[in-house]
């Protein structure tokens, strides 16, 4: 086919290509996708004193209904200590899972492709603070093409909230770091309101708009403090983030600092080809915020909904956007509830459902088709509740089926009873991503499947 003919064929195909299905909805747009049923959920779990070996661990749960071990823990690998296990993320090819610790700033890289049912530790990054020039508390592990973007929460100078982001190759070698814009160093960004605090938390990319969006939480001094003590410390409570930063994704330069007061946490961007917006929620002010590109091409932030009664401090934490951009699951840690918002009009979200999941609830992950919704409980070691009305509903991994109207419980794993700890970030795994379970060489030629 000659070049001109190729161009004509592509023009036709643009009209004919059908959308594909994919897996959970909150991942990086650069990542490989799972089509169909996930086989495993990898749960990055915080070690608890007196629970099992007390160590942070990566727990693998079989979640394929066709499996004999469905709904059970089939593998666990302990880290030899506690790091404040928090978030994890997959490389773009989903061959490795990066899991980080907010206290030690270690990053553990797991090989999940050699045997998806039994991850193994591939490499440990233990010089993150040194390499990055002082970033502490690696939080989000986000896939970019051939590399990982790691957001920080703190710094090694004062352990406050000023922080930055770092990039590593997929194999775990440091590339570069950049600090969040501050009042005294905006780095060329426009400060649109009252704040330029330099805090960080989550990051999400919209490649077709060349935009990276980051949010802001608090520093090591606060997130490692006992929650009751923290809430009684008026000065400490002032040191929470109030910003969302819009970055030039390609250049990794900050363009605009938006005021989003009250600690905006997780960011989830819409998937639609003309949907130039993302959502976040504010932990301290209990609101849904829309971060959007207006008609002039400027990025703006607007509070668009309340989450529960803010005076009761429900504390919104993880959120999950549906694949069709019409729904947003919002967990509130303190009351243990999930709320579902209709966001088909992103400027006017409407709560349509709420359900109590446990004593506390943090993370929510859904399958791409939305039929399966998973929850875990742990937020931070020194913040998590240790008692409640139901002692066996404190630290759990739960699966619910969603039929579009109601959540039906499918299974519940009590992580304390199982001697595992406090479960946090979930990531999906599937044999189909790696050739259906048969190990192949890089070219797929040297080791054909055994029959």
């Amino acid at each position: 086919m000659k070049w001109r003919g190729f161009v004509s064929l592509v023009s036709i195909l643009i009209l004919l290509v059908q959308p594909t299905a994919a897996d959970e909805t909150c991942m990086s747009p650069y990542m490989a996708k799972i089509v169909g049923q996930e086989d495993y959920v990898y749960i990055w779990t915080l070690g608890l004193e007196g629970v099992g070996d007390g160590e942070d661990k990566l727990v693998t749960v079989d979640v394929n209904p066709a499996s004999d071990t469905y709904g059970t823990v089939i593998h666990s690998i302990s880290m030899g200590g506690r790091n404040e296990a928090h978030h994890s993320g997959l490389t773009d090819d989903r061959r490795f899972l990066w899991a980080s610790g907010l206290d030690t700033s270690k990053i553990f890289i797991f090989d999940i492709h050699s045997d998806p049912a039994a991850p193994r530790l591939h490499r440990t990054i233990d010089d993150f603070v040194e390499k990055t020039g002082g970033i502490v508390g690696p939080h989000t592990n986000y896939a970019l093409p051939g590399r990982m973007l790691i957001t920080g929460l703190s710094n090694n100078r004062d352990h406050g909230g000023r922080t930055g982001m770092a990039e590593y190759t997929n194999s775990g070698d440091f590339i570069t770091s950049v600090w969040m814009p501050t009042d005294d160093n905006l780095q060329g960004a426009t400060k649109s309101g009252n704040f330029a605090d330099g805090y960080g938390y989550d990051a999400r990319a919209l490649p077709r708009r060349n935009v990276l969006v980051t949010s802001s939480f608090t520093g090591w001094n606060n997130y490692m403090m006992n929650l009751g003590k923290l809430m009684g410390d008026a000065e400490a409570m002032k040191r929470f983030g109030n910003t969302v930063v819009i970055w030039d994704l390609h250049a990794r330069t900050p363009k605009k600092v938006l005021d989003v007061p009250g600690a905006p946490l997780e960011i989830r961007c819409a998937w639609g080809s003309r949907s130039n917006y993302c959502f976040t929620t504010t932990a301290l002010t209990s609101k849904v915020w829309l971060i959007y590109e207006d008609d002039t091409g400027e990025w703006q932030a607007k509070a668009v909904a309340d989450i529960g009664d803010a005076s009761k401090i429900p504390l919104p934490v993880d959120i999950s956007i549906s694949a069709d951009d019409n729904h947003l699951w919002v967990n509130t840690w303190n009351d243990g509830k999930v709320r579902l918002f209709d966001i088909s009009d992103p400027f006017a979200p409407e709560q349509i459902m709420e359900e109590k999941i446990g004593e506390q609830v943090n993370m929510v992950s859904q399958s791409w088709d939305g039929d399966r919704v998973y929850f875990t409980s742990s937020l931070l070691a020194n913040w998590d509740k240790t008692s409640g009305s139901s002692e066996n509903d404190l630290q759990y991994f739960k699966l619910y089926k969603w039929d579009g109207k109601s959540l039906a419980p499918e299974f519940n794993l009590d992580f304390i009873e199982l001697g595992l700890g406090a479960p946090h970030q979930m990531r999906f795994g599937a044999h189909a991503l790696y050739g259906g379970g048969t190990a192949q060489s890089p070219s797929g030629l040297a080791t054909p499947p055994a029959h």
Partner: protein, 217 residues
């Protein structure tokens, strides 16, 4: 933004086929930090001559793409080839950049993509006199170390009897490599566009030849 309930399903056609939907950062206004040394290995060119991969990278900015010629995924290898040709055309239209970059399309299917096959494939897309190399290998022994070094894992599809179906899956990655053989950017489907690749090449060229300082009197 779209009216409520007027949402369309996610579109998967790669952005590289359409006009760039944003203004790229100004050439030279940003950095492209090194991601490490681009790996070497033994390859075959489209004449069947044995050479090293480092023989074709390291003397000018190079765009390296891993493909297989029988790929029918419009957002896979055809996208990479389309973008590579578009990059060539963009650079050649500017006398300041014409001839100053190289394209390399590297096949990871040595069974089908013999030197003859890739020569015929390249002839369809390579503009006359373009510095665009089409490479293959003689088999897994030389191919696997290269693929592993570049993080290119290919899943071949087999039927239940163990017969190869003729189809493969892989993550599309295109690499920008500088004169020191350092990887300076990696593009995947969502980010691969001729305008951004060409912009990055111009940024590398500017890095090598910064504008002369002007001293006021």
């Amino acid at each position: 933004m779209g009216a409520p309930h007027d949402h369309e399903p996610p579109v998967v056609l790669a952005p590289g086929y359409s006009p760039l939907a944003f203004v790229p950062p100004k050439t030279g206004s940003y950095s492209l930090p090194s991601m490490g040394l681009a790996a070497d290995g033994e390859v075959l060119d489209s004449d069947g001559k044995r050479l090293r991969l480092h023989d074709v990278i390291g003397d000018k900015p190079t765009v390296l793409s891993f493909i297989f010629t029988s790929c029918d995924d419009v957002n896979g290898c055809p996208l990479a080839t389309y973008v590579m040709r578009s990059v060539h055309d963009a650079l050649e239209s500017d006398s300041g950049t014409a001839g100053k970059a190289r394209l390399v399309s590297f096949s990871f299917d040595p069974v089908f993509d013999t030197p003859e096959v890739i020569a015929a494939y390249g002839a369809q897309f390579r503009a006359q006199d373009a510095d665009w190399q089409f490479l293959t290998t003689d088999g897994a022994r030389n191919l696997d170390p290269i693929l592993e070094a570049y993080g290119q894992w290919v899943i071949r599809d087999y039927d239940d009897a163990g017969n190869y179906r003729g189809t493969m899956s892989h993550i599309l990655r295109v690499f920008l490599i500088d004169r020191d053989r350092q990887i300076r950017n990696i593009y995947s489907t969502s980010f691969l566009h001729a305008d951004t690749v060409a912009n990055d090449i111009r940024t590398l060229l500017l890095e090598e030849n910064p504008p002369a300082a002007v001293f006021g009197l």
